[in-house]
Amino acid sequence: MAEQERRDTQEQAEFRQYCRDWIGKNHPGEPSVRLPLSALEIMTQEQLAYLKHWQQAAYDAGLVGCDYPKEVGGGGRSDCQRVANEELLGAKTPYFPNIIGLGMAAPTVFYHASDELKQRLLPSLFSGEDIWCQGFSEPGAGSDLASVQTFAERKGDKWVINGHKVWTSLAHFADWMILLLRTDKSHKYDGLSYFVVPIASALGKGVTVRPLIKMTGETGFNEVIFEDLEVDDAYRLDELGKGWQVAMTTLLHERGAGDLVTPRAGGLKSGNSLSVSARSAIELAKKTKRNGSTAADDPLVRDRLMRQLIRENALSENQRRASVPALNDHPMRLALQNKLLASELSQDTAALALDIAGPAGSLYLADENAPARGQWPLAYMNSYGITIAAGTSEIQRNILGERVLGLAKSK
């Protein structure tokens, strides 16, 4: 990690040392439960409890939300979250379960909610006590998010919500939801509003959560149905009809292009989780017998492995270069590439691994002889979730072409 240290400010240097000491003492070690690849795939209460406990501890120690002001439960530090993240990721800890809360809800609430609401919502969000989910996509509103039809009708100082959301990760565990909906059917972009909704308390009372099953056979995503759910107007974050602007804050941070650094931990591999990387593919190639030798000796395999390794390295060097203004012609040019590159990279790496495995690449999770316990086909299929969710690769390219290159809008 020493690499990042060189330009630490005084505050950052001290904080880094503090984080390092704390993690050294409090690292939970090999997890007691089998963890999925990411918080979005948490499937059991047991996993959730383990991870919530970890986030709570990190928050209590001041490693979560460090850059937010103290009044809202933050650490009141400046540009220290990235330091905490570096130390946490470097030490390969478990990840934080409240990924949507920390990455999307927190900055949105912070920039758009009332002080009262911030003080009420953010501390339990940072601590992981309250898990958050996101109610954006709908069956008819995927890439074209602004066409959401979930409708809220005004009723005094309350709103009555009816509609249907999809791809709602963590909804079955969530306490709160950030919800983009329509309050005016006559304007597309100006008819939207943005709410925070206490969802756990409403389960069965106006809110139904149904698991959506992925092509892999796993659950993880949900559908959320609203039937006459009543929500206080106090939970509306936007000036009426300006919900789209609020949603932009959420999306910007979702794409890693926001200004508030998302608290991140992770890197700890529970026994049987696979990292989709060139390194793992190289290991697979070395293990895979192929006419007298191994796949690692096949020049075509080697070439493809190096392509992936080079792309991986380029992606991390992109992130490094993004913080050197002199080496960037456009401030968003690199940041807006992150999601696109990472998702397509993992898709291609998984496909390469399957080619390396050959016929054995068809062996799936339940097969005892499957290479990497059948997680390569799982990773390959799941990679389409990543190239589709949170703005398909096609939408990402539109955004890059229009915002960065200044080309005409394609819609």
């Binding site: 890439s143 066409s147 056979g217 017998k289 799936y364 190239t387």
Partner: protein
């Protein structure tokens, strides 16, 4: 003999293809197929082997199992171009049946001629077979089964539809030579260990042989296999081409109906050009498929290289068409309830079986350019 301009695709072939298409459309519509093989979603479910056995009976009654069996043994002796058409439809329906391995086995047995009269007759009578050839790397050079004291001993991998078929056609090492054996899949000492695979429309197993009595098929196994492999590759390619076409058409329909930004998806060139590229890939594979099939019927001297081309192309097309279909569908295409995954998984399974694209290109290069180092030598 030069290839006929129309690939020898005559009326009988056309008739077979059309009737097969109607047959599958009527007897195994995709929603019924999905209900049958994907009823209980779970990532761990892959060992379930659900298939419409009665449908297979109907197929055999139509004579499809014995299509390529020479008339001399009571079969129909259909040309391969006609069979390619049938398997295209079989793949378009993602049909869970032992038709593919049975026809692949028939190719080997037909090469053996009279020595295989008995097995061929059984196939005509509706018996299903799967070839047992592969070692754990998927290669066919060093069979894992050997003949010891006149009995079969050893392990074979990646046996297709092993849980469905009545017989196995086993390649076994016998001293320096290799021989084929005809084995009842229920025989004593035959242990079928189902693999858990992604493909929900087929099954696959590791098969162990312990002191299995089996009837030998006269003739050098390696030679028979060598003769039959081009047909084996062409047949699986046909299934893949049909599946890819289903994925294309299904995605095209969706791109016509689904609207975003007040326009059908197909308006956007990102989707439109993707789908056109898929179409182009399919057409290349399909043209190569029929020229390989035609070569098997009429031009033995070119059938090896054309079969390499067909499988290499079909494998690339299968991967490409599956990926683009899911991507162009967006979220819904990533769900279990959407039928795409049945085809996606079947194609993923087929494309790396019987040699992947790179392997077939490498073998083709050996034929066209000469083996590596041959020049120097």
């Amino acid at each position: 003999m030069p290839q006929p301009k129309n690939f020898g695709f005559e009326d009988e072939a056309n008739l077979l293809k059309d009737s097969a298409r109607r047959f599958f459309a009527e007897k195994l519509p995709v929603d019924a197929l999905h209900q049958l093989v994907a009823g209980q979603p779970s990532p761990e479910m892959a060992k379930i082997n659900a298939w419409p056995e009665s449908l297979w009976r109907e197929m055999t009654e139509l004579g499809w199992s014995g299509l390529t069996v020479p008339e001399a043994y009571g079969g129909i002796g259909m040309p391969y171009v006609a069979v390619a058409g049938l398997l295209e439809e079989h793949g378009r329906a993602a049909c869970p049946s032992p038709l593919l391995p049975t026809l692949q086995s028939t190719a080997i047995l037909s090469a053996a001629g009279d020595a295989a009269a008995q097995p061929l007759t059984e196939i005509v009578e509706g018996c299903s077979v799967s070839p047992v050839l592969m070692d754990e790397s998927g290669g066919t050079d060093n069979p894992g089964v050997a003949v010891e004291h006149g009995q079969l001993e050893g392990v074979a991998h990646f046996v297709q539809d092993a849980c469905k078929v009545d017989r196995f056609l086993v390649l076994a090492q016998h001293g320096d030579a290799q021989e084929f054996f005809w084995v009842d899949s229920k025989a004593d000492g035959v242990h079928i260990e189902a693999d858990a695979i992604v493909d929900l429309t087929r099954d696959q197993a590791t098969v162990r042989f312990q002191g299995v009595e089996a009837s030998k098929i006269e003739g050098d196994g390696a030679t028979l296999l060598k003769q039959a492999l081009p047909a084996v590759w062409m047949l699986v390619s046909a299934d893949m081409v049909g599946g890819a076409e289903w994925l294309l058409q299904t995605t095209v329909d969706y791109a016509q109906q689904r609207k975003q930004f007040d326009r059908p998806l197909g308006f956007f060139q990102a989707v439109k050009h993707d789908l056109v590229n898929v179409m182009i890939a399919i057409d290349e594979s399909k043209s190569l498929l029929y020229s390989a099939a035609c070569a098997l019927d009429t031009e033995p001297e070119r059938c090896l290289s054309l079969a390499h081309m067909a499988k290499a192309s079909a494998s690339d097309t299968a991967a490409f068409a599956s990926g683009r279909a899911v991507q162009c569908h967006g979220g819904i295409g990533f769900t279990w309830e959407c039928y795409l995954h049945l085809y996606f998984k079947r194609q993923e399974h087929s494309l790396r079986l019987w040699g992947d694209a790179a392997w077939h290109r490498a073998r083709l290069a050996d034929l066209v350019i000469g083996e590596i180092g041959a020049q120097a030598a």
